[in-house]
């Protein structure tokens, strides 16, 4: 497990330093994820243990997301004031997303078979 943690932290640090080095606004952990993906693709294999540990971590992902969500308490006034754009974006973009997916599916239908 410690090796997995070290690898993940290493890639995150690499990502954060690359983002700073190139001064791009892409989040460091995301660049770390891209780098890890490239390494996995180039190696063409993944250590079963590493794979197992990552999935074990995903089981706790929802818990990790609770504290940042609680941060919304600081913005309740903003949401109350701008509830119209919030609810419209929430509902409309979801409908648009499904409609666009369906449209693309229809024009490329024979390719899916």
């Amino acid at each position: 497990m410690l090796r997995t943690v070290l690898v993940l932290c290493g890639f995150q640090l690499l990502g954060e330093s690359l983002a700073a080095l190139l001064s791009v606004p892409v989040p460091g952990p995301v660049i770390g994820m891209c780098l890890l993906l490239v390494v996995l693709i180039l190696r063409k294999r993944i250590t079963p243990q590493f794979q197992q540990h990552c999935h074990a971590m995903f089981a706790y992902l929802p818990l990790i997301l609770v504290p940042p969500s609680v941060g919304v308490l600081a913005h309740l006034e903003l949401i109350g004031r701008e509830w119209q754009p919030v609810s419209a974006v929430l509902v409309l973009t979801l409908l648009i997303s499904f409609a666009v997916c369906a449209l693309v599916y229809r024009i490329s239908r024979e390719r899916w078979q």
Binding site: V5, L8, F11, Q12, V24, P25, V26, P27, G28, P29, V30, M33, C34, L36, L37, I46, F50, Q51, C54, H55, M57, F58, L61, P62, L63, I64, L65, V66, P67, P68, S69, V70, V72, L73, A74, H75, L78, I79, E82, Q84, P85, V86, A88, L90, T93, L94, L95, I96, S97, F98, A99, V100, C101, A102, V104, Y105, R106, S108, R111, W112
Partner: protein, 236 residues
Amino acid sequence: MMLNWQAANEAIFSSPVFDIALTVACYQLGLWAYRRSGNKPFLLPVFIGFVLTALLVWLLDRPLAAYELGAGPIMVLLGPVTVALAVPLYENLHLMARLWWPLLLMLVITAVTVASSAVYIGFGLGGSDALVMSLAPKAATTPIAILIADSIGGYMGVAAVVVMLTGILGAMTGPGLLHKLGVQHHAALGFALGLSAHAVGTARAFEISRQCGAFAALGMSLMGFTLAVCLPLALG
């Protein structure tokens, strides 16, 4: 012997593990409710956990800064777990082999229309900069969306809640809507669910079929990846 109740009370609230215990307890309650309900999307453990934790923080009159400091050790894990998202993406990448053309087309068109319509509708209805930047990454999975929101000038908390609600709403309405719109193929149905409703949509897709779920997981990963790289460069 004098019992100092006030000191005992203060010891609990000033303990470094108080906020961690509070968060884990609320999340566990959410997990319990979710399982008892037979996995209803609106009883998602993260959603119930968030609502209960926020409610308690508010009722206990605990300053948000104190809670965030206390729960910091949990939040730190967000980075390494985001890096680990490369693993499911790598595992599902082979699904692209035969279908790469329609998948890529659906990914790119959906990513562009959803992100730009979120920005246009948000600004169009008078949303402020910070609000719209919190809404723009809503099609990405939560860990990625809050990192994007933070890097383009939005609020992590607002993004987290909006993404959660998108997932719940999308998982509840998606399969029915997509079916009505003529999407029958399980690969396409799953991919569309993953693109539109990320993790909750993926969980729903796995209930439909294994193939549907695998393509949803691929869609969610690719959408998160695409938005994470493109949004900060386009809006940052």
